[in-house]
Symmetry: C2
Subunit: 200 residues, 2 copies
């Protein structure tokens, strides 16, 4: 790792928890630079704008998830519907551990950013939409596999997948409003009851 990539990744590392725990508008470049031990001019050498930083932060969070819980949850060795349970559990344990350390339930950074910036910045909205789109695909493939395996009755896999993603985000939102990850524990499992029937 040369000095250049190190500076860049230190900036991102400093930005991640801040954007996650507060909001896009509430975190300043100066604060990130101070925390990363980087000069502002150096920051703008790597990132043309604040938006480009948050874009990189979103990518890192997405990678963390894809290589972590998501990879574990969507393990082909698991029965399809158990993967969904696994993912909900992972969200619960993650939020719980964050709260233990941080004192707060921070929720899903993709959901947080979506509601904050998507009316003001179409580039950020498109980025977040792409993240959700990928998540939906995972759910969809899992549902299709479950139908094929006969675990569940036929349904509209595309819409049901989207509904499940919506539900998960909604549960995390409600949990955040109560600052209580147990909400995810209580409500999460009901995700499997969601059904959108195939159009006739």
């Amino acid at each position: 790792m040369n000095a250049a990539t190190d500076t860049r990744s230190r900036i991102i590392a400093a930005a991640k928890p801040r954007f996650h725990s507060r909001s896009y508008a509430n975190v300043g470049i100066q604060e990130i630079c101070d925390s990363a031990g980087v000069q502002k001019g150096s920051f703008y050498h790597f990132f043309p704008s604040k938006r480009d930083l948050v874009l990189a932060v979103i990518d890192e969070f997405a990678d963390d998830w894809a290589n972590g819980f998501v990879a574990e949850a969507f393990d082909p060795a698991l029965p399809p519907m158990e993967r969904i349970d696994y993912l909900v559990d992972a969200a619960y344990f993650w939020q719980k551990s964050i709260k233990q350390v941080h004192g707060r339930m921070l929720g899903c950074i993709f959901g947080n950013l979506t509601l904050e910036v998507s009316t003001q910045d179409d580039i950020l909205r498109a980025k977040l939409l792409a993240i959700f789109s990928r998540a939906k695909s995972r759910f969809k493939a899992t549902l299709e596999e479950a139908v094929t395996a006969g675990t569940i009755a036929a349904l509209d896999a595309d819409l049901t997948a989207e509904a499940m993603l919506a539900y998960l985000e909604g549960v995390i939102l409600l949990a955040k409003s109560q600052n209580d990850p147990e909400v995810i524990y209580r409500l999460g499992p009901a995700i499997k009851t969601l059904r959108v029937e195939k159009a006739a």
Copy 2:
């Protein structure tokens, strides 16, 4: 209406669409004052702080809903489960009309504010939590009535109500990420498939 209350309500009227369409942090006091034709000193005569303004804005939005769509939807004359359909429809049509006028889907201001500020301001979080709590009660009473009427099988009304509220917020979030109210139209009706069984 005397001059005092008029100034106060002009401030709130100017603030409402701004907080709804952007974010808490992104809307400044000065801008609101300019739009309302009020001096900043006058603003601070009525509101001790920006937070107090947004608290008043939340109350007005809650009243608008309570006296509008919510009153229509939770009409005792309607069969219980149809009330839930009505509410989802109302959310859809409302977001659709906002998009037609504004060009954007703005989503639910309570959800928007929750994800933006609830890690940073416990007073605002408590306020939003109270709003959600009231909404949940409406769902719960409706579900209990449906069970009593034999329309649906027995379930945990409290948790199912919370799950439905979560789902609605999640659907609106996803719709906002696509800037497309049709998402609510497609996914909304599945709200009735959500079930949390009574604990044994």
